[in-house]
């Protein structure tokens, strides 16, 4: 039983350390190349499709929020007739 536990310990150490090494590779030079490309894109969109999606979602909420706040405050300011 203890031999099995020992083997498990060794295997998990080996697996974890090798996968950990794979994950913790320095990707900064790759990012530097991507963001220094002369694409004419502003920095907030230069990362790719995800940037554009996130920007659109944020702007949609901004525009909707603007409209909603104007409606909510106007509605709050107008006197309500009680039946």
């Amino acid at each position: 039983m203890f031999r099995h536990l020992r083997t498990l310990q060794q295997v998990s150490r080996r697996t974890l350390s090798s996968s950990a090494r794979r994950q913790l590779e320095n990707k900064v030079p790759v990012k530097q190349k991507l963001f220094q490309e002369d694409s004419g894109m502003p920095v907030h969109l230069k990362g790719g499709t995800t940037d554009a999606l996130l920007y659109r979602a944020t702007m949609a909420l901004t525009v909707f929020g603007c409209g909603y706040v104007l409606y909510a405050l106007t509605d709050a300011a107008l006197p309500k007739k009680k039946d």
Binding site: K31, V43, H44, T58, F64
Partner: protein
């Protein structure tokens, strides 16, 4: 391709100042709508917009500095001034609450029984959890300094360990303070004692959470090789903020917890 003939950073046009301003509008109006009409939709929308703005704005700054090399020495100097001025403004923010505390506690009114703590208030024992909290934050000040030296000396693993420890200590403080809040024999509604206690310590707790989050972002960046031994201002800014949070606690502990009991 045009190149600039100066060391300063002319930023790309960005939508985040606008979205941030709208988020502030939505949060403040939302607060008023919540108070008067019991609807939290507007305020929640504002909060979501705020989080999106902060994430994308700071993501862009990391891109501009670490990936595009825009943070030259003069630019970094400006960032340092900026962080120092921001922390100074936060010092003044807390000064107000300390002023309020001393105003009420140095000359307690007859309504309070002419004494401090006021009649009927059982203050927390300063030598129990509050003292532990003091030790936790002081220790975190040591670990964050250890992290800084590790980064400067190129000791990657030690930097990760000490920064993680700092964050864990910050989380431990927050957890301890949360239990204290739950167990306290008085509430925010208990006169001026309750108000000054919970507003001052409450805003401090919020700053601990903000500081811990800032340090956590630095940990992620350190793991991803963003920091070099010579250039790691994001971490330094987080460390300055963390020391500020620690110092505010020391003043809170001595004034409200210890003298105020």
């Amino acid at each position: 391709m045009a190149h600039q003939a100066h060391a300063y950073h002319m930023v790309d046009p960005s939508p985040w100042p606008l979205t941030g301003a709208i988020a502030a509008l939505l949060m403040t109006s939302g607060l008023a709508i919540w108070f008067h009409f019991h609807s939290t939709v507007l305020m929640t929308l504002g909060l979501i917009l705020l989080l999106l703005t902060m994430y994308q704005w700071w993501r862009d700054i990391i891109r501009e500095g670490t990936f595009q090399g825009h943070h030259t020495p003069p630019v970094q100097k400006g960032l340092r001034y900026g962080m120092i001025l921001f922390i100074t403004s936060e010092v003044f923010f807390f000064l107000g609450f300390f002023w309020a505390f001393y105003h009420s506690s140095l000359a307690p009114t007859p309504e309070l029984g002419g004494c401090w703590p006021p009649t009927g208030i059982t203050p927390l024992d300063p030598f129990e959890v509050p003292l532990l909290n003091t030790a936790v934050l002081l220790a975190s000040g040591v670990t964050v300094t250890w992290a800084h030296h590790s980064i400067m000396e190129g000791e990657r693993k030690q930097a990760i360990q000490s920064l993680t420890l700092t964050i864990l200590l910050g989380l431990y403080f927050t957890a301890l303070q949360a239990t204290e809040y739950y167990e306290a024999p008085f509430t925010i509604a208990d006169g001026v004692y309750g108000s000054t206690f919970f507003v001052a310590t409450g805003f401090h707790g919020l700053h601990v959470i903000i500081g811990s989050t800032f340090l956590a972002v630095c940990l992620l960046r350190q793991v991803q090789y963003h920091f070099t031994s010579e250039h790691h201002f994001g971490f330094e800014a987080a460390a300055w903020y963390w020391h500020f949070v620690d110092v505010v606690w020391l003043f809170l502990y001595v004034s409200i917890y210890w003298w105020g009991s």
